[in-house]
């Protein structure tokens, strides 16, 4: 391992040892209580079986331009279409990239997710395997690049990481899925560097076992006139927190965040989003929808931050939750922190239950309760799915939601 990386890990490890697990006394953790979770009880992931095919990935179509699978601690599959490689694209494990592309990795790793957040710092100290995607200036990759992160060994801790760098004017689709059939602890960091005029499509699907802990910090920095189309699908996990942060760093940059979640059983899903406007004429548009049933709990906290100089900002956020059972519960906390004076910002949150009159209407047409509820939920997700511009992706996400609902 190169000296700079060893040093970075050592610094993070030192820092990590000084940061306690957050408690509900901290504002961001008010609704997500980690008390009683013994993080030390999870064994560091070790190299796993290389032969098995990844199971449970919903967005694998066979048309991928490249694939990476990280099972437990190591990357066990890494392929890249020779034509895509010939265009100068790098898609490999982050560990490997640190050796083969040290300058690129050193320049960007840890440059987007900074600060002293407990889980991100722990990840910086302990990550293994990982994914590195680099698309050179002006290169457009048509086929999606797919990565799957899997815990195959019950009780393992997987510190996964992804670094995506799109140089100026580049275009790519990065699809990341978390599939896990067993209980474990996953803690990840994703850094997305979207250089001026680049366009990134980013899809993240959290489909871990409902016995697994899932923590993640995804953060994007979007340059001048660049665009990020971000789709987040939350289906699995027992508890944890997923941060989805985007920073409009360049004039005229934009992000469109589309989120869907299905939460049931005794799941607790916590989504923490920020839309940070540090440059003028930028646009951010967040629309998240979740369905809850059984004793499922969801928390969405969303903040739009507009810096003083970020005039002419357009920022929207909307969160809607549909509750199907008496004991499910959703908390929705939208927030605006605006220092500029010439901006357009709107936000809203609604939490509603299934209309019993509507349910009766559908049942009066012969639909049993489950079928009627499914139809209502299908309708509920329709507008959020319409935002996914790639048709194949839209259908796959829609089908995954239906499958998840059973």
């Amino acid at each position: 391992m190169s000296a700079w990386l060893t040093e970075a890990r050592r610094t993070a490890a030192e820092q990590s040892s000084t940061i306690a697990v957050p408690t509900i006394a901290s504002e961001h953790w008010r609704y997500t209580n980690l008390r009683g979770i013994d993080f030390a009880a999870f064994a560091p992931a070790t190299p796993a079986d290389r032969s098995a095919e990844v199971e449970g990935a919903i967005l694998l179509t066979g048309a991928e331009g490249g694939r990476i699978v990280q099972r437990d601690s190591t990357v066990v599959v890494a392929t890249l279409d020779p034509a895509v490689a010939a265009a100068g694209v790098t898609y490999c494990s982050l560990e490997e990239a640190a050796v083969t592309h040290p300058a690129l990795v050193e320049a960007h790793l840890g440059s987007i997710v900074t600060g002293a957040e407990r889980f991100a710092v722990e990840n910086a100290a302990l990550w293994t395997g990982g994914v590195f995607l680099h698309v050179p200036r002006g290169v457009r990759v048509e086929q999606p690049l797919h990565a799957a992160f899997e815990i195959a060994t019950a009780g393992a801790a997987q510190h996964w990481r992804a670094l995506v760098v799109l140089e100026e004017g580049a275009e790519a689709t990065f699809v990341e899925e978390h599939v896990t059939g067993v209980a474990g602890y996953a803690n990840g960091v994703v850094e997305l560097v979207v250089a001026p005029a680049a366009r990134l499509h980013y899809v993240t699907v959290q489909n871990r076992s409902t016995e697994a802990l899932h923590f993640a910090t995804h953060r994007a920095e979007i340059g001048r006139d660049a665009n990020l189309e971000w789709v987040s699908v939350a289906l699995g996990g027992k508890t944890g927190k997923t941060r989805l942060e985007s920073r409009m760093a360049g004039t005229g940059s934009s992000v469109r965040l589309t989120g869907t979640a299905v939460v049931d059983g005794t799941q607790h899903v916590d989504l923490d989003t920020t839309q940070e406007h540090d440059a003028p004429h930028a646009t951010s548009d967040l629309f998240f929808k979740g369905v809850l049933r059984d004793r499922g709990r969801s928390v969405w906290r969303g903040v739009i931050r507009v810096a003083k100089d970020a005039q002419k900002t357009d920022a929207y956020q909307q969160n809607r939750s549909l509750i199907l059972s008496e004991k499910a519960h959703a908390d929705s906390i939208p927030g605006l922190e605006i220092e500029a004076n010439d901006v357009r910002c709107t936000h809203g949150a609604t939490i509603s239950r299934v209309d019993q009159e509507l349910l009766h209407y559908l049942r009066s047409r012969g639909l049993d309760r489950d079928t009627a509820e499914h139809l209502i939920v299908q309708g509920f997700f329709a507008d959020v799915l319409e935002r996914i511009s790639d048709e194949r992706l839209r259908e796959a996400v829609g089908a995954a939601l239906q499958t998840r609902l059973g």
Binding site: D355, Q356, E357, L358, H360, Y361, L362, R363, S364, R365, G366, L367, D368, R369, T371, A372, L375, I376, Q378, G379, F380, F381, A382, D383
Partner: protein, 252 residues
């Protein structure tokens, strides 16, 4: 036995003490059209809701047999699959679900598991029903009742009737809010199905719809009871004299 047999039916709104239906007796068979008329608050709509199993109503006495089975113990979806259809006075909207998707889901619910209708057959049936009701084919890709006009909603109700082919249809004030052209089209759609395969209960406050759907029987509902029954001529008489005389005779 008649397809539908209602005996001494009493019902109230859940969590209320006041009985709205106070002993209804009625028999309806295929080929028959029973008009149920009456002033506001007489229990007309309650009867339709109770027949469909709306959870907001509670039956306190009496029985309802549908094809000889106890209708009141059946869930609303079972009632539908058994051949009962209620044309809602105020249909509900389901944003995000297209008319075609909804119709196909409903037909498949009636066909049972493992026997979904094939798409071409579904298309053919839907298009025939749309033609019968003079409905724009584009309606199939619109969201169910979402932003529909009153007339469009009622036509869509009858379209569902045409596709689900019930043995008994209950029309709850289907005429309300319709202009005369829309009323004619709706009546035409209903008439096309009344016959050997279907009977109908037409609930209405006004005589108007009965100019287009000729009833074989007319019943006047006053304060939760059928106060008078007769043939089509009774509706004409009510048109002239109103409900006051019958109401007065009930009180006396």
């Amino acid at each position: 036995m008649a397809d539908l047999v209602i005996r001494n039916l009493h019902a109230k709104i859940v969590d209320s003490d006041k009985e709205i239906l106070r002993g209804i007796d009625l028999e309806v068979s295929r080929g028959e059209t029973h008009a149920i008329m009456g002033p506001n608050g007489s229990g007309k709509s309650t009867l339709s809701h109770v027949l469909m199993g709306h959870p907001g109503y509670e039956v306190t006495d009496g029985e309802v047999l549908f094809h000889g089975d106890d209708l009141l113990t059946m869930a609303p979806d079972e009632r539908s699959r058994a051949g009962l259809f209620l044309c809602f006075q105020y249909p509900y909207a389901v944003p995000g679900v297209t008319v075609a998707n909804f119709l196909r889901t409903a037909i498949n619910a009636h066909r049972g598991k493992g026997d979904p209708i094939r798409i071409p057959e579904f298309r053919t049936r839907m298009e025939a029903a749309m033609k019968l009701l003079d409905v724009d084919r584009k309606m199939s890709s619109r969201y169910l009742n979402d932003g529909f006009s009153g007339g469009e909603k009622k036509r869509l109700e009858i379209l569902q009737l045409a596709m689900l082919k019930p043995s008994l249809a209950v029309l709850d004030e289907t005429d309300s809010g319709l202009d005369i052209d829309a009323l004619k089209i709706v009546a035409h759609g209903v008439n096309a199905h009344i016959g050997d395969e279907m009977g109908a209960i037409v609930i209405t406050h006004y005589q108007r719809i009965l100019d287009y759907i000729t009833p074989s029987h007319v019943h006047v509902l006053i304060e939760g009871r059928i106060a008078r029954s007769g043939g089509a001529e009774l509706a004409k008489e009510l048109e002239r004299a109103g409900y006051a005389d019958i109401a007065a005779s009930v009180e006396a």
